[in-house]
Symmetry: C2
Subunit: 282 residues, 2 copies
């Protein structure tokens, strides 16, 4: 069991990781090898103290170098859920699960509005993680909503397992092939069912499915962590980045505006210090 599980590899997550590393604590950090799509896409950053007028790409390059120098490796696994146990946390990521004494949630903000029914059926037919839950749908019918070309390999993985896959790309120029794949241009408006997902609503039509995969950069914190207090889509934290769950801290865009790099760096740092205090039993 590690001291801390860091969910997210944007600036908040990296800031927390650097501080925990400097303090000799063990941790895992989950995210993407490109660190953060948001930073990467930023044209020019003018107000980050210490870096004058860097482009997002330059910023990401610097962060990668810094992580590599500090011997921190980001696990490129999508986090499907965070579970608060009695005296530890379990993070389900990819096909693995990880145990940690604390969690820093630095999962960013959803840039896509959730679909009606998404949170209601999460774990009952709705999943955010192809590698975690894909095998449950072998030979079945799936709907796959995808926000970025980055996840096309996950679509292919799922389509390879399923008998039939309805794919809803939310970006331009999607290229997904396969005899059993039906590309839909219209977006689904609702996920419906009773105990489990039964169908996805597209326009006037209901398409019967066994499961719905939502492949996106970030998911709502409430969906990711059961029992977490949120308000207006943001995690409720105090000035020490404490959430309502003891031992679970949150930092960066997921705690609310301003959605700024400096703010995220600061909160990641504060969250790491709260982790250190928590581990010291204070």
């Amino acid at each position: 069991m590690v001291d801390c599980l860091i969910v997210g590899s944007g600036i908040a997550g990296i800031s927390a990781a650097l501080t925990l590393q400097a303090n000799g604590r063990s941790f895992e950090i989950f995210g993407s090898s490109s660190l953060s799509t948001k930073i990467e896409k930023a044209e020019m950053i003018h107000n980050y103290p210490g870096l004058a007028d860097v482009s997002g790409k330059q910023f990401v390059a610097r962060l990668k170098e810094q992580l590599s120098a500090a011997e921190i490796a980001v696990r490129e696994e999508t986090v499907g859920g965070v579970y608060a146990m009695k005296d530890k946390f379990i993070v389900q990521a990819g096909q693995n699960s990880y145990e940690g004494k604390t969690v820093v949630l630095a999962a960013g903000v959803e840039n896509v509005r959730p679909i009606k029914g998404e949170e209601e059926f999460l774990g009952r037919g709705v999943s955010y993680c192809a590698t975690c839950d894909g095998f449950l749908y072998k030979g079945k019918t799936l709907a796959i909503v995808c926000t970025s070309a980055r996840f096309e390999h996950e679509i292919e993985f799922l389509a390879g397992l399923a008998e039939k896959a309805y794919v809803f790309p939310l970006y331009k120029g999607a290229k997904i092939e396969g005899k059993n794949v039906e590309l839909l241009k219209r977006l689904p408006s609702e996920i419906v069912g009773e105990k489990r997902v039964r169908a996805i609503v597209v326009g006037e039509e209901e398409k019967e499915v066994d499961g719905v995969f939502l492949l996106k950069e970030s998911v709502s914190p409430a969906a990711l962590v059961g029992g977490l207090e949120v308000s207006g889509g943001h995690v409720v934290v105090d000035r020490h980045c404490k959430t309502n769950l003891k031992g679970l801290f949150a930092a960066g865009d997921c705690t609310g505006r301003p959605y700024q790099y400096a703010k995220a760096a600061g909160e990641g740092n504060v969250a790491a210090f709260s982790v250190l205090e928590f581990l010291a039993g204070r």
Copy 2:
């Protein structure tokens, strides 16, 4: 009248300034041309996202370049007081006073414990600012407590005005000359008086003085800003860096631990966004 008066040129103050500049707002930033003695003295910084293993000196050099590129000039004037008026603020700095619609207090933390009587007699014989109040003591007797060689020119300025000056340097290797200067190695324990300062207590002895100048890097926020809510020496702020005084925001070390660069950068950024919201009348 400018949009904002920023008190302090450490990372929190700089972060606020960069964000206000990027948003086209007018401001003054008060501090030192060396920006921050605390940063400058830092041996190596390992956990500031974007800058891998920089020395304090390198960090300060980068910040100076960044300010210069952004055409931001730090006013090297010691802030003697911040006054909340009905619908504006007045900052007294050096021999000048400045008007602003808002204030970001980023004054750091006192690294020297206040002397007994210091806050009680502030404005009644106790001053933090040689250039502000020095002329009031022409031909009189002064005690001067000084924490850094950086302020020796202020001691000389004061000693040049006064008839007699007791100087208490809190650092090694002090070199202050002058016939009317008496250097004391022992520290004063208390400032005493009735309506105004009457004497300074050194060991068993009381030395009669007309005024006491305390020349230090940062002063307690409560002493600097009348009516400001503090707790344990720190300014009480919410997650938006709001204080109990409307339009006055605080950021960085003065708001409490962790005393970290990333945290200061983050809070300076958040405080600047709160200023923008305040100015927009929200």
